[in-house]
């Protein structure tokens, strides 16, 4: 074997495939990866500190900006954490609306995942097909909240407004077309041999490593660990729905992709059931104008975000603002395994690995 001098290159923070401001320092031997060091923090906006100077309600729009690709999910996590802290009961209808929007967000996020993975692998056309379909979900968000990306639709004690009339046909037709969309992706993307060759067996993450590093969400399930917060610790009304948790076997990039594809199908199932069972009634609980928690009260609430286990830890000092808020950001923790799964691969595998770990830097850096 010919051995050559090692070369350190910086992938990012200005790079087409780093999904925002991610900086990966890669030590290469030719194209082979010897080591990678992940640097985060380029999108740090001091969100946790901002939370300390905002009232509980004022922070809702900020929470949407954590994971801006599935903004209903961090939003939901935050309002549920505050409700748990203050013991607020949410009306039935609002719970169902929340589930529908959260699962739509998950589908949108996973569709974007497929699209951005494709563009990272050089299949620029495939990306457009995913974005075309995601656009329909964005339109639905626009109907509900007036916003497409950063919705801020959840409220403490419910949701901002009832679903508009035109929302129901839109979501029903989307669910009807979803199998056709997935079939199209299957023909254009998943069935492609080049893509399979680039993803299968690449970036293997063992279940032990995944657990040791605290990886969560689809990345963990791709390694074969059955761990979905919606199942093991159902929040909201998730215990009422019948859905499966898709699992991978090898923990490679291909499994991480396939798990997400299957999750789209399961999310669609949840939405169908929620639409079926949704009762009429109030959409917002009666909550006091000034929300205050007891002095010293603290809460940790976690939800299954599209990126993994998203947790909010809130400590109250008795005023209308949290004393301290911490976010367990799944993107940040998932990124920690990038050096392990990239080691020994090629430079091109780093790109596939980053894409399949699906980090959102807004959430990772907060």
């Amino acid at each position: 074997m010919i051995s050559s001098e090692h070369m350190t290159i910086n992938i990012g923070p200005q790079h087409p495939s780093t999904h925002g401001g991610l900086h990966v320092e890669a030590v290469l031997d030719g194209e082979k990866i010897i080591d990678t060091i992940v640097h985060v923090g380029y999108v740090h906006r001091g969100m946790e500190k901002i939370a300390e100077s905002k009232t509980y309600a004022q922070f809702i729009p900020y929470s949407s900006r954590f994971d801006y690709l599935a903004s209903n999910l961090p939003n939901l996590g935050y309002v549920q954490a505050v409700e748990k802290l203050m013991g607020i009961k949410v009306p039935e209808r609002a719970e169902y609306i929340r589930v529908i929007l959260a699962e739509l967000s998950r589908i949108a996020s996973h569709q974007l995942f497929i699209g951005s993975l494709c563009i990272d692998l050089g299949a620029t056309t495939a990306m457009m097909y995913c974005f075309r379909d995601r656009e329909r979900i964005m339109d639905m968000f626009e109907m509900t909240s007036g916003q497409r990306l950063i919705t801020a639709y959840m409220r403490i004690g419910g949701v901002a407004e009832d679903l508009p009339e035109e929302f129901y046909p839109a979501v029903r037709s989307f669910l009807k077309d979803l199998p056709a969309m997935l079939k199209e992706y299957d023909g254009l993307i998943f069935g492609n041999e080049i893509l399979q060759a680039r993803l299968k067996g690449v970036g293997k993450l063992s279940a032990e490593d995944a657990i040791a590093y605290g990886v969560s969400g689809s990345n963990l399930r791709a390694s074969g660990v059955n761990y979905d917060i919606r199942k093991i610790e159902p929040y909201g009304i998730y215990d009422r729905f019948d859905f499966e948790v898709p699992l991978g076997q090898n923990g490679d990039c291909w499994d991480r992709l396939m798990v997400r594809v299957e999750e789209i199908v399961q999310s669609a199932r949840i939405i169908e059931q929620a639409l079926e069972a949704m009762p009429e009634g109030e959409i917002k609980a009666k909550v006091p104008r000034v929300l205050k928690a007891e002095k010293g009260a603290e809460v940790y609430h976690r939800i299954e975000s599209s990126k993994g286990e998203l947790g909010y830890y809130i400590v109250s000092d008795g005023t209308d603002k949290p004393y301290r808020m911490h976010v367990r950001a799944p993107s940040f923790i998932n990124l920690a395994v990038l050096p392990i799964i990239s080691k020994g691969g090629l430079l091109q595998d780093i790109i596939a690995n980053i894409a399949t770990l699906d980090p959102v830097l807004g959430e990772s850096d907060r």
Binding site: M7, I9, H15, P16, S17, G30, E31, C118, I119, D120, L121, G122, A123, T124, T125, A126, M128, Y129, R132, L188, N192, I194, L195, A197, R198, L346, L347, Q348, D349, I351
Partner: protein
């Protein structure tokens, strides 16, 4: 219409000779004019081609493509070219200046030189070399050096990686490319492109050599650095590979040269496999244009459909699959020719 361009050149020679020049000098001046025409046509053709590729990719990607400047946005490329020409020519401080500066010119020169041997119609060939195919292949491999110069001269790690990839890729794909053309040469019995076209008057070589055509197409895609083999450029991995440090017109020259190569390789494919300029009704020069554009459309189709292949897969695909296939094709062709001669069919 058939002899339109030949008539023009005849008239020009006659006019030059009427000025009192000897035949040799008139021919020499005509040659210079022909070279000028090649450069002009190449650049004009490419402005159309870039627009076409953007429109086609837009069609594939459910977009509109350029649609602001002129009807269907046809003037978009011209506007882009103007923008590139007015841009500052940045040469980064620690580059190897001479190599950095000359690389784009070498690249485009080589690309344009390819056109000299391609028969663009009945009798429309600037030089009918008796080693036409050999000339084409050997010049085509010179582009590697230009890319290596660009990558090395840029003094940028991404560029160097891109250049290394391009060398590895081009050397591996040169061999199946040449071997795929060998089958055609064996049947035609000549390296002269006019002879090869003439040999296809009854049957196109794509019928006799389908495997060679596919091998040629794949290897040519790799030679052109086009998707799914665009490793040296690799936008999403190497930012832009060997071209990372180039700006303005120097970058545009690379861009131009890539399209020039695309046209040349497609014209070569139509000459070698699709009967060249031969075709009914329409004039010969129109036929080769039609065929070339069809081949180019397939190149674009492939590029806008597939993801990029990985470097190690690329190499093993060339050495472990394309090379044996093209070698087997040569053996089968040889045996076939022998049997045909034995039966007395040719």
């Amino acid at each position: 219409m058939e002899t339109l361009f030949l008539d023009i050149s005849q008239a020009l020679t006659g006019w030059l000779q009427s000025l009192g020049l000897s035949y040799t000098w008139a021919d020499f001046i005509l040659l210079i004019i022909q070279f000028g025409c090649i450069v002009g046509i190449v650049i004009l053709n490419i402005t159309i081609l870039i627009w076409l590729e953007r429109k086609i990719s837009g069609f594939f990607q459910l977009r509109l493509g350029p649609n602001r400047l002129g009807p269907f946005g046809v003037f978009q490329t011209i506007a882009d070219a103007l923008k590139l020409m007015t841009k500052e020519d940045i040469i980064p401080g620690k580059t190897d200046k001479w190599i950095f500066r000359t690389a784009p010119f070498l690249f485009i020169t080589v690309a344009i030189m390819l056109y000299i041997v391609i028969p663009m119609g009945d009798g429309m060939q600037i030089v009918d070399l008796n080693i036409g195919v050999f000339y084409f292949i050997s010049l085509g491999s010179l582009t590697t050096i230009a890319l290596l110069m660009a990558g090395w001269g840029s003094n940028n790690k991404w560029s160097l990686l891109g250049a290394m990839r391009s060398v590895a890729q081009m050397i591996s794909y040169e061999i199946p490319l040449s071997f795929s053309l060998l089958g055609v040469i064996m049947i035609a019995g000549s390296l002269k492109l006019s002879d090869i076209v003439a040999a296809q008057s009854n049957i196109w070589f794509i019928v006799l050599q389908p495997i060679a055509f596919i091998t040629y197409f794949i290897a040519a895609t790799a030679e052109l650095n086009r998707g799914p083999f665009d490793m040296p450029e690799a936008e999403q991995e190497l930012t832009a590979g060997a071209y990372t440090e180039y700006t303005g017109m120097r970058w545009a020259l690379f861009f131009l040269a890539e399209y020039t190569n695309l046209v040349a390789v497609s014209a070569m494919a139509s000459t070698m496999f699709l009967g060249g300029w031969q075709g009914p009704v329409l004039p010969s020069w129109l036929w080769i244009i039609i065929k070339t554009y069809i081949v180019m459309f397939i190149f674009m189709w492939v590029k806008w459909t597939f993801p990029r292949i990985r470097m190690d897969h690329l190499m093993s695909f060339s050495w472990k699959f394309l090379l044996p296939v093209s070698l087997a094709n040569i053996v089968i062709t040889g045996v076939g020719i022998y049997i045909f001669k034995w039966i007395g069919w040719c």
